[in-house]
Structure formats: structure tokens, C-alpha cells
């Protein structure tokens, strides 16, 4: 079997494991049904909730998927969502995430170049303070500062702001990585040789150094994608975006087993996809990866 397929197989194993683990973890939690009602819920209504979730049945963990494929609502009672709605919400979150990824790459490049410049000046302390400030700021704080200005304005403004807010820390994080890699690469002999040959520093940077920095960047894309999605949980809530992150948090809080199981699995699959995409890109841009494979 080609090694690429093998890798794919290993990555995909994660998906069913997450699906089953999340089901049993959620099913172990006590079911909340009481809420603000004054009277008790009829025991038979309760039992119907349990049946609905497949609790206590041997193949209960397949129940959410059964409902999903039949197009029924996930979750107990009239709440919960259908597969179509889930897909719609997911596309919203992924869209925000992709814009954020682009923004983050922009931040990363800008920060790396700035830091290289600051290094030789008095501003070098900024190279440390900025990442600390970016990291020490929970996403919900800038989101809250920005939200009143953009929410209910339409034109995808809340979505773009959410992307902006969640991209800051991953961007700076990537930037630090790139800057470190740049430092290492710039100190190497081939740079000196290239400069000695009379190439302009700009040409050396773009043609020789950056391609060598790229693998370091690719390594970080996985964790950054994770961070972006996690950041979107908080940002979506503050910006009132009814997308995947919002859905997920509410489902966990309300212990809607079926929704949590499906959403977690989708989440894991998404991360697997990101991992695969990174591998593909690596194959394209990194000769070392190609050699290792053949």
C-alpha cells in the first residue's frame, strides 16, 4: 500500500474513536429534563427521551447517526437540528475559519518581518511583549470590544470581525515560529554564499530562505487550525453568529447527546482533513518530504 494511503488510514481511525468516546462520555452524564417547570415530567416522557438517545441499548451509539441519515432532528424534543442545518452551520464556521487562517498567515508574515527589523533596534522588547499580550488575551475580550460596532450591521461584518479576532493569537504564534526559523536559516552558510554571489538580500529571502522556512510553517498549521476552531466557540457567541461553535457549546451545556456526538465527530473529521491538506501541500513544496516517501 502506498505510504500516503497508510497515513490517511491512520488519521481516519481517529474519527470513529472520537465518535464512540464522545457518545459514552456524554451518555454517562445525568440527563437534565427538569428545568424551570413547576410540575414533574411524566416518567413515560422521560423514558421516551432515553429511547430517543438509544441509552441502555447495546447499539445505542449508532442512534445519533441513524437519526442523522433519516433527516430527523438530533437531540431530544423539538430542539436540536437536522443534518442540513448542521451542514449550513458548519460551512459558516469553516468560512470564518478559512478567512481567519488567511488573516493569521498575514499576521505571521508581518510579525516575523517586523520582529526581524525590531531585533536590531530598541523596539526588540515589542517582539516579546506583543506575543504575550496576544496570548494573554482570551478571545472573548477583543470580541466584546469589537462586537457592539459590528453586530446587526449585515454585509458579513460580524463574520469578518470574528475571523479577525480569532486570527490574532494564532497569527502571532505562527509569526514567532517563522521568525525563529528565519533566524536559523539566515545564519546558514548558503545564505552567505548566495549573498556573496551578489544576489540582492530580497531575492535571497524570497527565493532561497522562505521556501526553507515553509515546512516549519506547515507543521504549525494543524495546531493553528485547532486554535482557530476553538477560538470560534467564544467569538461566535459574542458576535451572535449561529454557527457550529455556538451550536457545539450549547449542545454540550444542555447535554444533547446526539448533537454532541455528531458535532464532535464532524469536528475531528475536519481536523483530519486539515492534516491531510497539510500533507499534500508539504508534498508539493518540500522536496525532502517527497524524497522520504519514494
Amino acid at each position: 500500500m502506498p505510504p500516503a494511503l497508510l497515513r490517511l488510514g491512520r488519521q481516519l481511525v481517529l474519527v470513529p474513536i472520537v465518535a464512540i468516546a464522545s457518545y459514552f462520555l456524554m451518555a454517562a452524564l445525568p440527563l437534565t429534563t427538569a428545568d424551570d417547570a413547576k410540575r414533574q415530567v411524566a416518567p413515560e416522557v422521560l423514558a421516551s427521551y432515553r429511547r430517543d438517545l438509544g441509552l441502555g441499548q447495546p447499539l445505542g451509539f449508532l442512534r445519533p447517526w441513524e437519526k442523522l441519515f433519516r433527516g430527523e432532528r438530533l437531540g431530544t424534543s423539538a430542539q436540536g437540528i437536522t443534518g442540513d442545518e448542521l451542514l449550513w452551520k458548519l460551512s459558516g464556521s469553516v468560512g470564518v475559519g478559512l478567512v481567519a487562517l488567511v488573516l493569521a498567515l498575514g499576521w505571521a508574515l508581518a510579525f516575523a518581518l517586523l520582529r526581524a527589523r525590531w531585533r536590531r533596534s530598541r523596539l526588540s522588547v515589542l517582539g516579546d511583549a506583543l506575543p504575550a499580550a496576544a496570548f494573554g488575551t482570551p478571545v472573548f475580550i477583543p470580541a466584546l470590544l469589537l462586537a457592539p460596532a459590528v453586530v446587526e450591521r449585515g454585509h458579513l461584518l460580524p463574520e469578518l470581525s470574528a475571523a479577525l479576532v480569532i486570527s490574532v493569537w494564532p497569527g502571532i504564534f505562527l509569526g514567532t515560529l517563522v521568525a525563529d526559523a528565519l533566524d536559523t536559516e539566515l545564519a546558514r552558510d548558503y545564505v552567505r554564499t548566495a549573498l556573496g554571489k551578489g544576489l540582492s538580500p530580497r531575492a535571497v529571502l524570497w527565493r532561497h530562505v522562505l521556501p526553507n522556512v515553509l515546512p516549519a510553517l506547515l507543521d504549525a498549521v494543524g495546531p493553528v487550525a485547532t486554535a482557530l476552531l476553538a477560538g470560534s466557540f467564544a467569538a461566535e457567541r459574542v458576535f451572535g453568529l449561529p454557527y457550529f461553535g455556538q451550536l457545539y457549546v450549547l449542545a454540550v451545556l444542555q447535554k444533547q447527546v446526539a448533537v454532541v456526538v455528531v458535532a464532535t465527530t464532524v469536528f475531528a473529521s475536519l481536523l483530519v482533513l486539515v492534516g491531510l491538506a497539510v500533507e499534500l501541500v508539504r508534498l508539493l513544496v518540500d522536496p525532502r518530504a517527497r524524497e522520504a516517501r519514494s
Binding site: 410540575r39 413515560e44 424534543s77 446587526e152
Partner: protein, 552 residues
């Protein structure tokens, strides 16, 4: 960045993401199927009350007024059942402008409600016991259908509805106004649909359906996008009262937001609840409005956990609480109280009767709590976490401090899973909490609504039905039963007052703290929007002022 700036610039052209008047609600509805409903029903009320109507309505003074029924007669049968004959208004049509309202609409609606998730709410109806029992047993559908046909709701002719209650219930007319399970369903449209299709009919609004009776109807419910859009229903017989120059709002959008008050400040929404301790303590905006609720916030005591299993200890705790000091400075205004029934509720206790119930008496509390065995362990006080119009964190912290002053140590436990935690039992059997804080609201203007929670089948979670062999609970339920059936107002009031005394004084299951208010802000151009004393956002009289409403 450039893209952002461009888009932001483009936005100033006045583009509206959602048209019309925007109302921020604390939660989206969970269903629009008012007959089948859902235990999370409070979130559905704003939509239900704007789009539907009951047989009766309530006047501002809480008296019962005609609604869909223009008049009714009340009688008793020889077997002690109570029979209501409602004469429906003949001029009422559903929102398609053609389908008339008929008595059959109630029969169909109530039959569905008897099979819904909140069917317990209809337990007063004659024959409902059998229906509930059959469902409990999982009886075959034919049997259930036959039992439904025997329940006490019949259409005598298209405009006359006869309702039979198993026993007289003097709160019944008040319930009909607000409890939306009693609202009619458009039977002509539902005929021939399967249960699944009926639910789809209600929960996926399209092409003018589901039909409505109120001044507004749901045009669109974007479940995934979490928006509900209401439009004006010109065929409604219940139009908002229009003064010269006023008009009904053509479109109303209900949405949810974490930052509602900030959006209101910027003119982007037109109505918002102010449900935050921070906002209520700071500078008060001029358009901040206060609605006193028919509601009580109370401390409940776990009667099964020693030393709280002794009524005198519970009474002493109630006496140790200084309600005035508890509420001081937390809200723009507060109504501290040591009684369950709010004074403005018809049938509440008189001031003299209230004075006999346990109230702040620090000396006596200290004396009664001295040397109580078992009180050296800290008591765990559970309350709901998160921001709300009840400043729960502050109240809990002050309660702990006040009880510490009489030598009772209290630890605080803020829970997001409050109801589950309060219901949770320890390994030994009794529930695991010691004290909890909860708000109880009226669903209709009648003392009965305040007592339902504390009955044997209520979710009071205090375990007081087990105390003293269940005798006090039996007596309490008997008192309520008598009071509910008593046609004479004065006598019924006296019985409710007795029941309150059993709960608050004799057994001291709960210690009421104050009667909460709800705060909200609304634009001057928006007339008739109100929060009613039942804490429901009332949109049924909403209209726009003369100047075209400026909405950004």
C-alpha cells in the same frame, strides 16, 4: 484588512440585514407547536402570545375578561363536576382571512395537548386522568382515541364549546388566558394530516402558515440562523389599539444576542431586556422601564438533611434573614418580602396575616439556633450561575454573611446545571443540597399558580412530603383543593392563606426573600410593547408611533 475596511465602508449605505422592528429576546423558541409544546415553554411565550389568543384575557388589574369567548356560563352537575359553556365570538377568522374560528378548533387543540409533553397542565379536564394513564401504560391508539373522545371538551355547535372539569376550579378562567396549551388549533387545516405532518406544519412556517389569530403571525423561523420573523396579520380581530398616526409594525424580528444592551445603545435594536447586575447598578438610562412581576424569589431548605429536618431550625433560619439589608443597593428598586404570595395578587394575605409568618428577628433566631446539634457542619447553598435580572451572586454572598452572623456557616455553589443539581440525591437517599435559591413566577393571576410547585408532584425538591409521615403535605394539598373548588372569594382566600402558613411557618420549607422586577428598554417610537407581570414579553399591542421609526 483592506477587504474589511471596504466592507465596513459599504455598510454605511443603510443596508439592513433583517428588516423591521428588532426585539432581543433571552432565548429562541424551542417549538411553535403551541398544543404539543415543550418543557422549555417560557421561551415560546412571546411568540405564542403575539400570534394566538385564549378564550379569556386578563385585564391590567388581573380580572378575567372575554377573549375568543364573548361570554360563558358556569354550572355544576350533580356529580360535582364543573361545566363551562363558552360562546365564541362569531367575527373571528384565522389569518388567511377565510377560515372561521370554530369550537372544533379547541377540541382538536386540547386533544393534541393531552398527548403533548406538558399534558399534566390539562389534568383538571374531566376524563384526562384516563388519557394520561393510558399513555403511561403505552395503550394502543384506538383505545387512546376513545378515551380522548370522552374527555370534557366538546363542540356543541360551531360557536359553542362545553368544557367539563372533574372538580370545580376557580382558577380555570385565569389559566385560559395565558397558558397556551389551551389555545385553539386550526382544525380545518390540520384535518387529514399525520402527527408528523402536523408538527412540521407548525415548526416550519411557510406560505402564510401556521394560521394565527393574534395581531401578528410567524412568517419565518430560521432555526439554524436563530431568527423569528413576525409580520402583521391584517385579518386578526384583535388589532393593536391605534391612536391617530399610529400603525401596526409590518415586520418584527426576534433575535438573541449576548450584547443586546450595547446594540440598543447604538440604535440597532428596538427592545432589549436589561438583565445584568452591572447595568442595573450603573447609571440608569432614561428609557429604562421597570415591570413588577407576580413572582417571588425564595430560599428553599432541604427538609430531609439534619439538622434542617427540624421545622424550628428552618423557621429560625427564615428569621435570621434581613431581607431589607439583603437587597439594599443591588437594584434600582426592590420589594423585599417574607411572604410567598405577592401583595398585589388577588387573594394574597393581608398585612396582619403576613405579620404572623416568620420574618427578620435576629435575637430570636440566634437564641433558637444556639446549641442546635449538627449545625456545626457548613450548609451548601446552591444557586444558578450566570447573569440574570435577579442579582443571585450578590444575594447568595449576603445570605452567607447574614447566616454567619447567627453562627451558621454557609458555602456557596454556583451551578450551570442548577435544576439537575437540586434534584440530585446523595447515596444515602435524601437530596444532596442543603439550601437553594430559586425564582417562582406566576403563569396566571391566581394564588394557585404559586402553590403548584410545592405540591407532591411539584418540582420543589425539598422533600417536605416525607416529613412527619406526610401529614402536613396531605393537609396542605387538602387546603389547596378546597380553596381551588371554593366559589366564594373570601373563603377561598382564607384557605390559601392557611396553606401559605403551613408552607412558610408551620413547616418553614421556604423563606421568601423578595418579589423581583424585570427591567427593559424600548424606543419611544415603539408603542405598546410591554413585559407583563408574568414575565412574558407582550407584543400583542405593539404599534409604531407617528414618526416613521428610524432603525439603523
Amino acid at each position: 484588512m483592506l477587504v474589511l475596511v471596504l466592507v465596513a465602508g459599504g455598510c454605511r449605505c443603510g443596508f439592513q440585514p433583517d428588516p423591521g422592528v428588532k426585539v432581543v429576546v433571552p432565548a429562541m423558541p424551542t417549538t411553535l407547536d403551541w398544543s404539543y409544546s415543550d418543557p422549555h415553554s417560557w421561551a415560546n411565550y412571546p411568540v405564542m402570545l403575539a400570534t394566538q389568543r385564549g378564550l379569556t384575557t386578563l385585564a391590567p388589574d388581573h380580572s378575567v375578561q372575554p377573549g375568543l369567548a364573548e361570554r360563558w356560563e358556569r354550572s355544576r352537575t350533580a356529580t360535582g363536576q364543573e361545566v363551562y359553556t363558552f360562546h365564541l365570538r362569531q367575527d373571528v377568522h384565522w389569518s388567511d382571512g377565510v377560515t372561521p374560528l370554530t369550537a372544533q378548533d379547541f377540541v382538536i387543540g386540547w386533544h393534541r395537548a393531552l398527548q403533548g409533553r406538558e399534558r399534566g397542565e390539562l389534568a383538571d379536564l374531566a376524563g384526562s386522568d384516563e388519557v394520561l394513564d393510558l399513555q403511561e401504560k403505552g395503550a394502543p391508539p384506538e383505545q387512546l382515541k376513545a378515551a380522548l373522545a370522552r374527555t370534557g371538551v366538546e363542540a356543541l355547535d360551531p360557536h359553542t364549546l362545553r368544557v367539563t372539569l372533574a372538580r370545580p376550579r376557580n382558577y380555570f378562567l385565569a389559566r385560559l388566558a395565558n397558558v397556551y396549551l389551551f389555545f385553539p388549533a386550526p382544525s380545518a387545516v390540520l384535518a387529514g394530516k399525520t402527527e408528523e405532518q402536523v408538527r412540521d406544519y407548525f415548526d416550519r412556517p411557510r406560505e402564510g402558515h401556521p394560521l394565527a389569530l393574534g395581531p401578528y403571525r410567524v412568517e419565518n423561523w430560521d432555526r439554524a440562523g436563530e431568527r423569528v420573523r413576525l409580520v402583521h396579520n391584517p385579518h386578526s380581530a384583535f388589532q393593536p389599539p391605534l391612536a391617530p398616526g399610529e400603525r401596526p409594525a409590518p415586520v418584527l424580528t426576534l433575535l438573541k444576542s449576548e450584547i443586546g444592551p450595547a446594540l440598543y445603545e447604538r440604535g440597532r435594536v428596538d427592545f432589549v431586556f436589561v438583565d445584568s447586575a452591572v447595568a442595573l447598578q450603573g447609571r440608569r438610562p432614561e428609557d429604562l422601564q421597570r415591570e413588577p412581576l407576580l413572582s417571588t424569589y425564595f430560599l428553599a431548605i432541604n427538609t430531609e438533611r439534619p439538622p434542617l429536618d427540624r421545622p424550628e431550625v428552618r423557621r429560625a433560619l427564615s428569621r435570621a434573614i434581613d431581607r431589607e439589608a439583603l437587597m439594599k443597593g443591588l437594584l434600582p428598586a426592590a420589594r423585599p418580602s417574607h411572604v410567598l404570595l405577592p401583595p398585589e395578587l388577588p387573594g394574597a394575605a393581608s398585612p396582619e396575616e403576613a405579620a404572623r409568618l416568620p420574618h427578620f428577628d435576629p435575637e430570636r433566631a440566634r437564641a433558637e439556633l444556639a446549641n442546635v446539634p449538627g449545625l456545626d457542619r457548613p450548609l451548601r447553598l446552591v444557586y444558578r450561575s450566570g447573569d440574570s435580572f435577579v442579582p443571585e451572586v450578590a444575594i447568595a454572598e449576603r445570605l452567607a454573611a447574614q447566616l454567619a452572623a447567627v453562627g451558621v456557616k454557609v458555602t456557596l455553589d454556583a451551578r450551570s446545571d442548577f435544576s439537575a443539581e437540586v434534584a440530585r440525591r446523595s447515596a444515602e437517599g435524601p437530596r444532596a443540597y442543603d439550601l437553594y435559591l430559586r425564582r417562582l413566577g406566576a403563569d396566571y393571576a391566581h394564588p394557585n399558580t404559586f402553590f403548584t410547585l410545592f405540591e407532591r408532584t411539584g418540582l420543589h425538591q425539598t422533600g417536605w412530603e416525607t416529613q412527619q409521615g406526610g401529614e402536613p403535605m396531605d393537609r396542605f394539598e387538602r387546603l389547596l383543593d378546597e380553596a381551588d373548588a371554593e366559589p366564594d372569594e373570601a373563603r377561598s382566600r382564607a384557605l390559601y392563606v392557611q396553606a401559605q402558613a403551613v408552607l412558610l411557618d408551620e413547616m418553614a420549607v421556604i423563606a421568601p426573600l423578595y418579589h423581583p422586577d424585570r427591567y427593559f428598554r424600548t424606543r419611544a417610537s415603539l408603542r405598546g410593547v410591554d413585559v407583563d407581570p408574568f414575565n412574558f414579553l407582550s407584543l400583542r399591542e405593539l404599534r409604531l408611533g407617528p414618526a416613521p421609526a428610524e432603525v439603523h
